[in-house]
Symmetry: C2
Subunit: 320 residues, 2 copies
């Protein structure tokens, strides 16, 4: 275990790119935080960071990115490794993975930000010991990561469960929805910007007895019901800025009503256990991306990593 | 490969139980068809069939059942192997698998009828060569089997995607839905009995220009969109009595509209390839259940089976 194994990873988000290299135990050697502006500027800065890191520490054994999407993850597709039809201005059809091919001569991996965060939750958080679970984040969009048998679910491409359609919640019959593709899909009705557009104020400023929260809980319970009927996870972890603490019980109550006693395996479930908050911290996504790099290099998940080594990444934002 | 490997399986349906034993190549040695009446009567006759088969041919290496559900598939649950909250009268909370434990001293497996049919489609039908796909049947209910990485998806229990909720189709605003648990879930709005209750005539007697078909296509396209966003399969195979030939193009058109160009990997897909009819024949479910028994005995799927050996099961219904 003493041979060096250098790993590089990016958590690519809509507001920032977190970049890091770590050793085989997940201990961070260098890290940086780059604002998400234009692809050339942001990817150029990220590429320069890794060129510098490699000059200082040596070649990477593997490199991976956990990114906002949608992404093209089919290795035989012409646009493999691209960010595709994202609503984020300027970032449509960007060859994200390809941008690093000349800088980084290492095997690469790519997955969604939410699948990487799910991996982080499995290593250190609310997904520990679970084989099949969903990780939902409700913020500027609604993203859903799905781990099946301990690995991120890909299929022909990655899940995009934020874009399912659900019946309108009681009392929500006039808002057209904010998704540029689907209008009133789940994300269009229930992400943070949709709440702000509907109520004229940011979600976090709405009082806890505002009708907005019952409507929001209805939609998120609808998502949980759909995930239950399609993926049948061991747990659904929900986080993101919109998930204020009182929301968890609201979602659990609405989900119980929606399932209506169908399926004995669901009747036996403790809702407080089934719908849970994330606990791996703000760097779960970057940790998961590093873990994906580890798996790319070794064909195994780094189940030996300890949280202390990896959770300081988000806090210490300076480029070492 | 000359050592005998006897396999037993049941396709347990709402109207009939198909029972068979086969050799290691899937060739049927004995078979029978038993009407589904009461659990005691039907399971008693099935049990007697296998006792007779074992007396004639020897002990089984493995035994499996593909059944209507919902089932309890969690091996650590107290009701493992039971049919649970089925709407089928008299069959709630029946210990399906346990009924055979005294008769059949062999490792057993249980999965849904639709997961078994999906295995049959992967061996001989529209799922050949695919790792991740969905098998949907629209008849007296709406069942969805999901194969992920070549194996039936279980999770904490099996999918029940027929019970997702979707927005009402245009023009369908007065029918309350027929699901005893959820009212207007997908099955409650779009299964065969729901169509009959809404229109006052069996689905197959409605003319092809009846508005019923556009409404039905809207719901099934909604199911396909949800499966696309959650499971992201390589293909969705749809069969069952309601899927008359003109329905396929209707569902494909409605699905294209619902996806609305989101996600480049879906834009690149040929809808005629993505939404397809089953082609493994009426015995796909029993073949899949036999294949599940084979996997239980050998830890491998019987990819060497040929269709000729196994597809005569439904046609030759007599007890040999």
């Amino acid at each position: 275990m003493s041979e060096p194994l250098l790993l590089g990873a990016i958590e690519a988000g809509g507001t920032k790119f977190l970049c890091a290299i770590s050793d085989r135990d997940g201990a961070t050697l260098m890290q940086t935080r780059i604002p998400t502006t234009t692809p050339d500027e942001t990817l150029g800065a990220a590429s320069a960071f890794f060129a510098d890191a490699i000059a200082r520490h040596g070649a990477l054994a593997a490199f991976s990115i956990g990114s906002f999407g949608p992404l093209s993850l089919n290795p035989v597709a012409g646009d493999y490794g691209y960010i595709t039809s994202t609503p984020k201005a300027g970032w449509q059809d960007v060859d994200l993975l390809g941008y690093f091919r000349d800088t980084i001569a290492a095997p690469t991996a790519l997955d969604t930000d939410v699948n990487c965060a799910a991996v982080g939750e499995r290593l250190f958080g609310s997904g520990q010991g679970l084989d099949t679970f969903c990780y939902v984040t409700v913020g500027t969009g609604i993203g859903v990561g799905v781990l099946i048998n301990g690995a991120p679910h890909g299929g022909a491409n990655h899940p995009e469960a934020g874009h399912i359609r659900l019946p309108r919640a009681p009392g929500d019959d006039w808002f057209a929805g904010s998704c540029p593709y689907h209008g009133d899909c789940l994300e269009g009705l229930a992400c943070g910007p949709a709440m702000q557009a509907r109520w004229g104020a940011p979600a976090e400023t709405l009082p806890s007895d505002h009708q907005a929260w019952e409507i929001e809980a209805d939609y998120l319970a609808g998502l949980c019901a759909t995930l239950t009927y399609t993926v049948r996870p061991d747990r659904i972890i929900i986080g993101g800025g919109v998930m204020q603490p009182p929301m968890y019980d609201r979602v659990r109550r609405a989900l119980t009503q929606k399932l209506a006693g169908y399926d004995s395996s669901m009747r036996a479930i403790d809702m407080a256990d089934y719908v849970a908050a994330p606990t791996a911290g703000a760097s779960a996504g970057l940790t998961g991306a590093l873990a994906l790099a580890y798996r790319t290099a070794t064909r195994q998940w780094p189940m030996h990593w300890t949280m202390n080594e990896t959770t300081s990444i988000e806090a210490e934002a300076a480029h070492a």
